[in-house]
Amino acid sequence: MALTTPDSDRRAFRNEGFGLRLVVLCILSVSIMVLDHNDEHLKTIRSILSAVVHPIRLVIDAPFSLGHWIGDSTATRSELSAENRRLKEQNLIQSARLQRQVALEAENTRLRALLDSTAKVSGRVLIGEIMSIDMNPFRHRITINKGSNDGLYVGQALIDADGIIGQVIRDQFFSAEALLITDIDHALPVEIVRSRLRTIAVGTGDLERLSLPFLPRNADVVDGDILVTSGLGGTFPPGYPVGIIDTIAGDSGKPFLTVGARPAAALNRIREVLLIWPEPAAAQRAAADGNDRPVSPPEAAEAIVPATIDPVGDAPALDAP
């Protein structure tokens, strides 16, 4: 037996009201686009909608998580023991390095105390997992499975075992969106380890390239120089590896060198990320001033713009993400 279908009425459906509806919805769309583009006016609405679509995210991610789980649980004993052996060796090497670091850190604190500057204290970290969601393929953005529920905030730095990955640009309840350092809209203040020269590394839109467009022709830079975060701008904590310089080209007609670098982190192969909270030096200073207000997320959110537009001053105005 056939149901009455939603379109079984034989009279032609000619409702002239939908031109008006289109106009209304278009005006609505344009106004939210303007609000969303100009500022974070729609932050709460976006968070709520994001929580609504979170089940869809989980469904998309599920087959991939399942695949990983099956891969893990069907690994043979020899594979597991090989991996275990490798990890043990790695652990041993790293513990040995760490022993030396304890001594170095103590020495560093002592020297800093002599110089009367604030001590560097390592901050809190949290491990987040990248969800298998393809965002707009033309931007370098990722979704991670930790959100403002876990204390994330906009502007927070993301690292992995090899170096800086990016920063959080939208914190939602159960997930967050992060911008990778290779996104064309991203710039971060870096320092060349060997010469302590500070400059800016700009994303190129290629996951394996960074560009350093603001180095003058006489800059002290050689192939293989290591870039670390300089900590200027306040978004990224100082001293984390960013990349290795691999191309230097100087055109005699141009005032700046064309310098390219390879990111230290394998941005196209990461699955887990470390979220780091800034070193509590600023909070300590605030507390010492008798002002016990900790560094609150809104302040950090404001710091995002000066971080992407470098404080060194030689950068032209870059669009904030």
């Binding site: 279908t5 459906f13 919805l25 583009h37 729609l42 679509v53 998309i60 393809d134 965002m135």
Partner: protein, 169 residues
Amino acid sequence: MSKRSAPRWPVWLVFIAAVALVSLPLPTIMTPVRPPWAAIAVIYWIMMWPRVFGIGSAWIIGLLLDILQGELLGQNAFALSVIGYLTLRFHLQIRIFPLWQLTTTVFALLAVNAFILFWIDGVAGNPAAGFARWTQVLVGGILWPPIMAIMDRLRERIENRDPTFFVSR
């Protein structure tokens, strides 16, 4: 016998699946050949069930897509409501087209969708997507006949199913 209408939730599942397919991770090489699933689903169901799905549904699906893709909020909503309107306005003509003509029309609608997205990207100062967006339109047009065949079967099943099978409204 009381009047029952065919259930709508299977179609909403189709829409959600389409939105999910757009966000399904694929290797970067596959980006140019990923069809715009959501736009295709919107065109089909508005064309076939214009009394049930209209510009409003298209707008909501667009908004879901914006959130999931991290786009400017309202970008896909705008584009999908425009092609939703065009489909609704001309559904009586489109529906009786022969297949090749229908495919050409869908191709044109998908191109309008892609153009609106491209245009908004330009106005908002986001990096333009390059040629991949246009090859996606091409792939969507080519895949329309098989997708339509599958959706037709689904629609017939929904429309002819035993009424006791579904909760009536």
